[in-house]
Amino acid sequence: MYEDEGRADELIYEEVYIMTFYYSIKQMSRSPLKSILFFLLVGVSAFLLALGGGLSKMNAEMMREFEDIFTTVGTVDQKDESVVTIAQWEADKKDYVYRRHGVPGKWISNAVLDFEGAGYMLEAKQRPYFGARIEEKVRGGGDRYLLVVELTAEVSDVLEHSVPMRVNKVLGGGLHVGDTVYICDHYGDGDGSYEPRRVEKGKTYIMELNESSPVHGPWVEHIAPEEYVFEYAAGNSVASCQYTMDGDRVFDAAAEAEDWNTFDEVTEGFYETERGKRWLELAKSQEYDFYTVPVEPVDGTELLLPFYRNEAQITEGRDITEEEYKEGKPVCLIPVELSRILRKGVGDSLTLPLYYAAYAPAERFDGSFLTSILNARGKVYPVFCEQDYEIAGIYENTSVLAGGEHDLAKHEVIVPWNSIPENAWEDNIARFEPMSEGNTSFRIPNGTIDDFMEAWEKQGVEGLDIKFYDKGYSQLQSGIENRKLMAGIFLVSGCMLAVMILCFFSNLFITGQQERIAVERLLGRTKKQCALSILTGLFVLALAGTAAGSVAGWAATGSAVEATESTTEFDTTFSNTVIDSGDGEETEITAAGQKNGAEMAALAGCMLMLAEVLISVGFMRQVLRKEPLQILGGLEE
């Protein structure tokens, strides 16, 4: 008969559910102390969970931002091992000037930086820069520097003051035949035995000239100082300065035989001789030089300190991506000035025929740094690698104005290290200097400086100075760790409190209501209805407490975010960068974008409710397992 009444029962059940809800809440409300306590404690749990979750999320977001903002870069500098005194002839004083400067010991290979425990993100490499001959003239030799000319002495005299000589032939540079220029052995490196050389009237000499200082001496008394006439000094000669990958000089007989600024007398058939041919090659090489831009291969843009310090910034296009660096894609960054000279923009192709390498900071390119770009055979270095690079970005560099050996060169092109075949330049090394801040750098994960240094010190390598630049991350790290710990404590205590509260009150509201459950069963309620009757009120109360606690936790997280935003302004005051640059400028970096989304509070609330459902259903199942008679019998006893 009851099966037949099933449909009617279903209709009744809808009302019964409402009635169940009503009585469940009613009975809950009639034990107000327990209910309020439960509500409050669930609320506190939800508050702690929401706050802990919110702070954790905020911390995670901050850490992600920090990882973007902060990078830890190290530079390596080989320390000077000794100090030497150099006697330098100064013509205007007609005496030697003694200068002291540091001298590094035996060059240390960057291989020593490859050690266990370094944990590089980008490994330490001593970077060369390359010379690339491009289509447009980018450097002015003009009439001031790197001139290769034949000069005929107008008088016979020692070059200890400005001596007039007439331009006889111009092999390189912007002087004009017939002009009179003044030559002086103004500065002469040496050990104190250097004597200014002598020229004979009517004889022709070939020299490489660079503009030096205002003219002086008896031959220029007719020239007023305000006319600003400058003398020239003989510069680089035809000797090669080629090096091996190990930093050893490649033997060149010409280099062995002469001073660095030797000049030759031009006689009949001179250009048929070996030296004569070298002078012609030198003139050619300097012509090359005017069309040369420095190209620096690197594993990451941030390894270049001007970029790291935001003194150089990409103003058009984009940076070279990590993947492009890794895979050695032919993409490059060029400075604004070069893009204007070349009339090339982002996306255009730039052919870079690389023909020499110099192991020195790239900014040295801007001076007359290289002794020679002739190899040991007396020839201009041949191109060792040529490929088309796509211009990914154009950068503007203000660090050039500041100067310093870790700046960029004026027209420096930046390319991925891996875009050039490994050691393809080994026969084209025109200069070799020890590792320095300007060309040896690496990147390690933030906060691992101490670990790195500990591992480094175990290597026992001496003579290298390692500096780190982290924009103040180390100082902030402890604060971040504290916040992480605080969030963790809130989360763990919230979880523990939640579990304890839920277990205690579930026991109180469910196991403690066995009699009610048994009576309801006697009155004909099914187990499911009994469970609903007991749990509905419990869930409603838990839901209310959870919602209130979560909202409070969310609001508290919001306050924490506001407090953080008002106090967390990260600048590089504490960073080595500022200390090192000494310019007193602060780069402020704000950890912006910390949004207090409600999702963590909602998630915490949902998790708490889920725990409540699981725990209370567990308790309910235990109670419902007992038969009503068993329960009531036990109670009557």
């Binding site: 009851y2 029962d9 009302e15 009585y23 069963r521 004909g524 038969e627 019998g633």
Partner: protein, 220 residues
């Protein structure tokens, strides 16, 4: 006309130490309009027998027919909701509901509106002789006799005409006991209930229409 037929019913259960054969091959018949008393010593199996009649457990063997339907084959929850009510010595009222709400509860469980349930519950409470002032009181504010009357009123409200009572006067003084016995008799004789009372109380046994005795699980 309510009728319960018990045929060769046996039931045993396992306690912590041994298997207890609580009911052994009991056969009997109960009809409405009569007050039945089942007596026996503690452990004789009378309360277990009552729970079998209430459908709170199933007989191991034998058959219990309630109005001709085998109790082990029908929805026993529904049966208790609609036909069989049980009252106990300890009353087992909902402590957080008032007397009126305790009686309304089974009515609303059957889908009766709250207003109608309130009306019918008040009638039931009046029927068992409780004054109106008791209606809003919680069980802990009432005497044992009042609580038992509320329990009986709740049983009456369920509309079933079979009332099973397990020691209904066990916690009552003699005056209240007399009132309850009188009420049970009235229910049987005037309201045509089938009332089965399990009791130690010889007075109830004396006043019952039929008195049965159980010993060692067997019905004499």
């Amino acid at each position: 006309m309510e009728r319960i037929e018990v045929k060769e019913v046996s039931y045993s259960y396992q306690n912590k130490y041994q298997k207890i054969e609580a009911v052994k091959e009991v056969s009997c018949t109960f009809e409405s309009g009569k007050l039945y008393a089942i007596t026996g010593e503690s452990g004789s199996g009378k309360s277990t027998f009552l729970s079998l009649l209430a459908g709170l457990d199933c007989a191991e063997s034998g058959v219990i027919l309630v109005n001709g339907e085998n109790l082990s084959e029908i929805d026993r929850d529904a049966c208790r909701r609609k036909q069989i009510s049980v009252v106990y010595q300890a009353f087992h009222l909902f402590p957080l509901l008032t007397a009126l709400e305790n009686v309304m509860y089974p009515l609303e469980l059957q889908g009766i509106s709250r207003r109608e349930a309130r009306k019918q519950a008040a009638e039931c409470l009046e029927e068992v002789g409780l004054e109106e002032k008791i209606l809003g009181q919680y069980p802990k504010m009432m005497s044992g006799g009042e609580q038992q009357r509320v329990a009986i009123a709740r049983a009456m409200a369920a509309k079933g005409k079979i009332l099973l009572a397990d020691e209904p006067t066990g916690n009552l003084d003699s005056e209240n006991e007399a009132h309850i016995v009188e009420l049970l008799k009235r229910m049987a004789h005037e309201m045509d209930y089938l009332v089965i009372v399990v009791t130690h109380n010889p007075e109830i046994a004396r006043q019952a229409d039929v008195c049965m005795r159980m010993k060692d699980g067997r019905m004499n």
